[in-house]
Amino acid sequence: MDLVAGRTFAEERRPIRHVDPVLILVTLALAVIGLFLIYSATSQTLRQDGLDPFDRVNKQVITMILGMVLLLVIATFDYRFFKVYSGFIYGATLVLLLLVHVPGLSSSVGGTSNYINIPGAALLQISPSEFAKIGLLVILAAMLSELRGPVPTVQDLVRILGVALLTIGLVFINVEIGSVIVLVAITVGMLVVAGTRPRHLLILATASILMIFLALQLGVIKDYQRERLLAFLDSSNTSADARYNLQQSEIAVGSGGTFGRGYLKGTQTNLDYVPEQHTDFIFTVVGEEFGFVGAMFVLGLYALLLWRAVRIAYLSKDPFGTYVAVGIASMFAIQMFVNVGMVIGIMPITGIPLPFLSYGGSAMLVNFIAVGMLLSIHMRRFK
């Protein structure tokens, strides 16, 4: 028995002693900030409709508690558990994606059926595409960590892409462009770290662009999705409705100025000018009420979060942990970038929630699960 500072080495390396406090604090900080933002975005409207102004905040708190429980549970398990069951998890998320198409189970929001209503649990609507991210992430990590060569061969790539495209395709059929982007980012991020040859990546990129073009041409994308995309690509050639979303959120963020208008004082925010404000456009509240300084602070928290994720990928004792951490980092990074970018007009409006800040059940839970996995990798980083 080796002794380290009076304790046995084994005891010193007990996972519980090696949680990542920065990661936990940043996660909690973002989630709590999210509650305040949701209150600002929804209370006025709720009060007007004669409802409890805390209605949305309360629901989000419940989701948060549930998320933290999941985080703790997952952190206590060894992350390699996910490698063992990666095939099962992946399969389960595919089934969930298919369940959306079962009549009577799906609920339609904004013309597409992206949610599964769990009978008897009215509070929870499950969005399968959110869980599909975890499913894809673990199966790809498992596959990449078992590669024979130092870099993926063409055969490897074909297998990996086959698995990825199955998930992506199902999400695409459900017309969730935002989730497709996130899944693609996860896949690409992991492939880059796995050492995929740049040549192969280029071919993949070309193929993707061709496919997107085809999708637009063949009308696979629903009209409103297409409109939102085109609104971004060419603002002169789109309906007033689509331009309106973009304009209002830019005005909201821009009118915040350097220091913001003060909490609950944003006119754009309080008067519902920005559409879907407590969900996809939650960042407008930050921009309008807390200004450039507030926006930088929130972005700083994300930077911390991503730094911890990349650091965990680096510290992981095995390739599986590295790939999972990279997948999660890619997932958070692309969501943050596309969401904030969309709010301020440098990315298309696609319907991606902002991690930990946006109101919404499934995404919130998945984010906590992902942090739980990061923690688990971090805690067990010693061989």
């Binding site: 006025q44 409207t45 007007q48 130092p150 991020g189 880059v192 770290v193 796995a194 050492g195 209002q248 830019e250 005005i251 909201a252 963020v253 821009g254 009118s255 915040g256 100025g257 350097t258 006119t267 754009q268 309080n270 008067l271 519902d272 000018y273 921009g287 200004g291 450039f292 926006a295 930088m296 972005l299 994300y302 930077a303 991503l306 990349v310 990928a313 680096y314 390739p319 590295t322 990279v326 980092a329 890619s330 990074a333 943050m336 970038f337 904030v340 970018g341 301020i344 007009g345 440098i346």
Partner: protein
Amino acid sequence: MEKASSRLKVVALLIAFMFAALATRLWFLQVLAVAQNRHEALNNSVRIAQTDALRGTIKDDKGNPLVENRMSLEVRVRKDQLGPNAEQVLLNLADVLKVPIKTITKALQDKRYYDYQPKPVAEFVPEREAFYLDEHAAEFPGVTVVPTAVRSYPYAHANHDPEFAAHVLGYLGQIQGSELKSPKFKGYGENDLVGRSGLEQQYEKYLRGTKGVQKYIVNSDGETIRTLGEEPAKPGDDLVLALDGKIQQAAEEELYNGIQRARTVVDQTSGTYLKADGGAVIVLDAQTSGVVAMASWPAYNPEWFVKGLTPQQSHYLFGNNTLAPSLNRVTQQIYAPGSTFKPFVALSAAKEGIANFSNSYDCPAEYTVPGDTSGATFGNWSSTGLGYMSIAQALKVSCDTVFYDFGTQFFFNWRAHQLATNSEPFQRDLRQFGFGKPTGVDLPLEASGIVPDAKFMLDHPDLYPDGPIPGVNILLSIGSGEMRATPMQLATAYLALANGGKMCKPHLVDHIENAQGDTVKQIGTRCYAQLPYSQAQLDYIVQQGLSQVTQPGGTAGLAFSGFPLSTLPVAGKTGTSERPPFQDTSWFAAIVPAYQPKYVVIAMVEQGGFGSTTAAPIVRHIIERMYDLPVSGPVTGGSAD
């Protein structure tokens, strides 16, 4: 994992790049473009709602309301609130209102309103239907019934005279898009009504009042969150006129009757019935220079404009219609005044030393310019020579040839002294009586008329290829040729004869009151010049000359036969002006009573024949009604200029 760590750096770099992009854009939006974004955010949320001010009323001199406001129940539709069954809602609404669905859909396409603004689709909705809509509000989302104020004409209504004082009162019209941009209409909104003619136009700034302003903060659905401030509407000021409703009605009726009678008279020149297709009457108060009555025919019903003109009404009023019923013939149309002009010629001739009230002048049947060998002659209106007579007598029988000679002498004087500073004293004197310039009556678009002079002839070489000729002055001396005046100008000139030589601007509005009844502006008598004639000279014209016109042997002797001239002497002057190819314009100007003048009354009928035939009987009947005398039946005025 050596290689993996370098590849992780690639991922980290990509993420860093994302942050850089977001931060740059945020810097631009929030720090550099903050002012513009703040401005747009403000525009987003603050709505300014205006409440219309109640327009001021118009009352006659006794306080009888001539123009007031009444409520119209207006149905308005907010397009964005019709709900998912918009079409059905509109169909049901059309059913309730008993109008074709097309009227409603057309009204909803009105580009003057935004979708979040309620658009008016029906006015004057009966109360029953309005109640129904209110009670079934749930079935008609976005439909509201709003009481709005529109013009009403109680005096016209009470006296069954729909065209009562139409030209005086005027009407309202929708403001035009181009006007909204002009500074003159600052503060007007897109649906505002604005005075388009008559007093409604002239006193627009008093009548319109001040709009109420309410500032709201609204959300994106247009729902009010809170009120920022409220300024209640201030009603417009009321006009109190010098006009006497009873006399106005008498003037209109007698003008109409006179025109109808004229149409039964055969015109001596053309041999056909007189067309008598237009006329005007003006009654001025000789003391105050207030307009007691002002009638123009043909007229129209101002109520038409309240409900919106039908195509027929629009064509009648503004179409290619030579009758031009929208024109106020008292102030907006110019005519040769004919012999009614002679008193001013006589006064000018006496003042400039061409005539003398104690001399006698020959009245031949024809007049030739001295020294003119071309054979051109100017005839008297009657074909017989009347011998030597005084100027008073020349006015009584309206001898043209006496006046022709005055005109000739004025012309010769001009020719001899045309380089002198005042080479045309004749025209100057006539202009001092107010001819050739607007009288300044408080009505819009008043015509100026023409006093022809040497310059006029030089300016029209097409008409006067040889330069100034005596003929123009000769005809000017009997108010013909190129001379043009509005009936209003003639009335103010007669006013000067009646009031001791004062030139005054006539006024319709005596004073303006605010809603509390306090006078905010007194218009009243506005005299601006004293004419250079002695009271004796004026008395000679009115009492020696014009008083005789209504006496037996005067040109209006027949028209006033049986009139109690001994108790109510009437000084007057007939006029008949040629207007080829049309029939003659018939005139009569009167001062009553002749010795202590109280009123000036002028009547003019286009294509009405001799002054004694049509205009003089009209004036007689008006005077009878003004003085509550028994109104004589149809009067044969005879055929005298």
